[in-house]
Subunit: 460 residues, 2 copies
């Protein structure tokens, strides 16, 4: 079956009747839910990954992602009914496939340069056995122009075929929120941009049918990739702006959370909140995909670049707040026992990718503190090279300072009376996630600091 | 009557029964609609302004603001029924008043330093005859701390009374959108922050009762002023971000409007569009109120500062697009006839305050172009020192280049066939406001450029 020759109706029918084989390359946070979604929609899905453990786990109906509600059960179902197979042999999988969906990671290196080597390897592997008439879809986040200038030439070179004529290529950047992948896959509209009209049309039809979402058709892969980056950079820049306000308002004796919540009552304002920095697989890296393209044409997006640096520096600000709060109770960081509550990069995920809390942890360790960690998503697990606490009490026992690093739901109503009993009072409390009311912390005797919270008032 | 001693219910009753006298100082775009709103709610309102012409016009039931729908009729009504009087004698007006509402302009000077002299003069005038038990409300946009450090000392010094004890002071920054003042006054929640609880309570009750809007009570005048600045700076920074994307995407061959419209389908994105810069009474100035406070505490908000500069430089970018587009048809700016369509700083207002189009006009004139102007809100009026055209045809007759500077509703469906007939073809069309589809302009034979529009394609 050559999917590139099918009409819309034929695609719909073929999908329902199990006649379309989709190979998803990369079974991480994006690839696995996507593979499951296509399998649920009726496709024959082969998930390919270089990680043997992940492949073996999926083969047995298991799932390595623990924080995507409902995913484990779905994986078990589609593996049991034969809709989803997993393999480490990408070339074999490609040989069977009508559609290739590339969901490999695209990190940035230590110089903040995008590392597309997984995309290159995937293209190389795909090109070895790609059949005529197939469609290659890139979901991985890449800079605008990467599909045109890297993916297409690589596939053409490896196959000896002509993209657009012999096979289709389209970008359909993933747009879902980690921790909510399954919900978002079916509701957040997808952006599809192909190298020609047919590529766009076939890819759009596939996603509309398989996921049931709206598809916005754009004029090229680079446009689709620009959309992905623009929306994520919007968030990164606005969080940086909130952080800039936070630091200034601390000095002006203004509570930034009070300000932002009041702003949110205006019709054209959308609130972003300050914090200890920005982590996760997307926001800390996405700016660099665009910056590197800006460098090439002599037009660096400096606002984006500067915003990134503001966010990158926030862990240092939190360390300064810790130092100040401990100073208020006559203690130094050196020799203090500091309990960090929350290490995940955002609430309610089992994920520490590029979490800013790691920088806070390392900085405080370097300064001579004895640091414990507690995170309800990582109870007793090794994190940052140490074993995290099995429960809150184990972590805060005799602490001189409590630092809240993630706004997990468990931390929204902390029992400050209990915490002050267990802590080595007089103690400090530093809230980088505005889950504790400053007055409440002070009422319980803590020397309090919070990112963006007025601290002209000393400890009680 | 001493309003500061009244309970909530007493304030409500007194307002309805015409027992509260409100003096609005400054009858501009904020003050006049506010005066009318208080008069409609039952207050006795005295509008004070130093501009004799404005006062005389209002006395006769007229209105100097032409683009606020419904305002003229309302002014006539409340003047006729005696609810609104106007005067140039502020001290006399203050003597009668229970509530003072300061709505004077707060521009920035040529060095981008806020000029609070009108606020100072207003406070000085008010303090001469301010009665005990009155409430002074500052609606003018000022930096956080200005009410505490400038307004309060000035009033105390002039009156010999103690603020908080003898009279109340609160900030309630105006939050409505020029051109929609009347609609917004009744729906956009107000932010009220007083120097003490009583000031906040009385001011909040007044606005809730008189305007029928929700009031968010915040902890201080400086918090209220920070809210006003934060929400406007959010807009300024996001427009700068859109402009940064626009310029980069032009070079990458990506249409920024296509990108932003696609981004807008994501749940956590709010679209801002690029353009020729940012004008009006608020956005180009508001950043400096905060910057100057940042300078004082050694913490300049550089992201805000940089965003402002991006927006300030956009007129130059438009001039470059004009130069390029004319070059495509073998013409120089020098000697070309250029028609600028739209000079108002935003659509559908009779207002050129800090409009970026002025910079474009001046730059093109300096380069030797013969520039005509047409704006449906200013037909035949003098603008930028020249008489603007009475209609579109008069402006575009034999034009070598058409520049769209404002997205007035009249420009959303321009008859390009007619325009190309009247223009001196081959001609250029430069759209700074994305109201013309690039392909349509090119189909009609124009060398087209648009802010953020792909222009790797030359003229047809």
């Amino acid at each position: 079956m050559t999917i590139m020759r099918l009409s819309k109706q034929e695609i719909r029918d073929a999908l329902k009747n199990g006649k379309i084989t989709v190979c998803v390359v990369g079974l991480g946070r994006v690839g696995l839910p996507t593979a499951v979604a296509f399998a649920k929609a009726g496709a024959q899905v082969i998930g390919a990954d270089i990680n043997k453990n992940v492949v073996e786990l999926i083969k047995s109906g298991g799932c390595h992602l623990r924080d995507e509600a409902g995913l484990e059960e779905l994986v078990e179902n589609v593996v049991k009914n034969g809709r989803l197979r997993a393999t480490v042999n990408i070339s074999d999988a490609v040989r069977e496939a009508d559609v290739l969906v590339v969901c490999v990671p695209t990190p940035v290196d230590e110089n903040k340069v995008p590392d597309y080597s997984d995309v290159k390897v995937a293209c190389h592997d795909i090109s070895k056995t790609l059949k005529k008439g197939c469609l290659v879809i890139i979901e991985s986040t890449v800079g605008p122009g990467t599909v045109e200038d890297l993916v297409v030439p690589s596939l053409e070179k490896g196959t000896g075929m002509k993209a657009g004529t012999d096979f289709g290529v389209a970008s359909c950047p993933e747009r879902a929120d980690p921790g909510k992948m399954l919900q978002h896959l079916n509701v957040v509209p997808r952006i599809v941009g192909g190298i020609n009209e047919k590529s766009t049309a076939v890819a759009a039809e596939l996603y509309e049918t398989a996921l049931g979402t709206k598809v916005v058709r754009v004029s090229s892969p680079k446009t689709a990739n620009a959309v992905k980056l623009t929306e994520n950079l919007f968030r990164d820049v606005n969080i940086a702006l909130a952080n800039e306000f936070a630091i200034l308002y601390e000095k002006l004796g203004i509570d930034v959370i009070e300000v932002i919540n009041a702003c949110a009552t205006k019709y054209n304002f959308i609130p972003h909140y300050p914090g200890p920095g920005v982590g996760g697989p997307c926001l800390p890296q996405n700016p660099y995909y665009l910056i590197v393209e800006g460098v090439k044409v002599g037009n660096i997006p400096y606002l984006v670049r500067f915003a990134r640096e503001i966010n990158d520096r926030m862990p240092e600000h939190v360390v300064m707040l810790v130092t100040e709060a401990l100073n208020d109770v006559g203690k130094t960081v050196r020799g203090s026992k500091i309990a960090i509550l929350g290490v995940a990069y955002k609430p309610n995920v089992h994920d520490v990718q590029l979490t800013p809390v790691k920088k806070i942890y390392e900085h405080l360790k370097k300064m001579g503190a004895s640091v414990t960690i507690y995170d309800p998503m990582f109870e007793g697990e090794e994190v940052f090279g140490i074993r995290s606490a099995r429960n809150l009490s184990e972590s805060i026992e005799k602490a001189d300072c409590i630092v809240i690093g993630t706004a997990h739901k468990e931390f929204h109503h902390l029992d400050l009376a209990l915490i002050s009993q267990m802590s080595n009072m007089p103690a400090a409390l530093v809230d980088a996630r505005h889950v504790v009311a400053p007055s409440k912390a002070r009422d319980h005797g803590f020397a309090f600091r919070g990112v963006g919270r007025r601290h002209t008032i000393g400890p009680k």
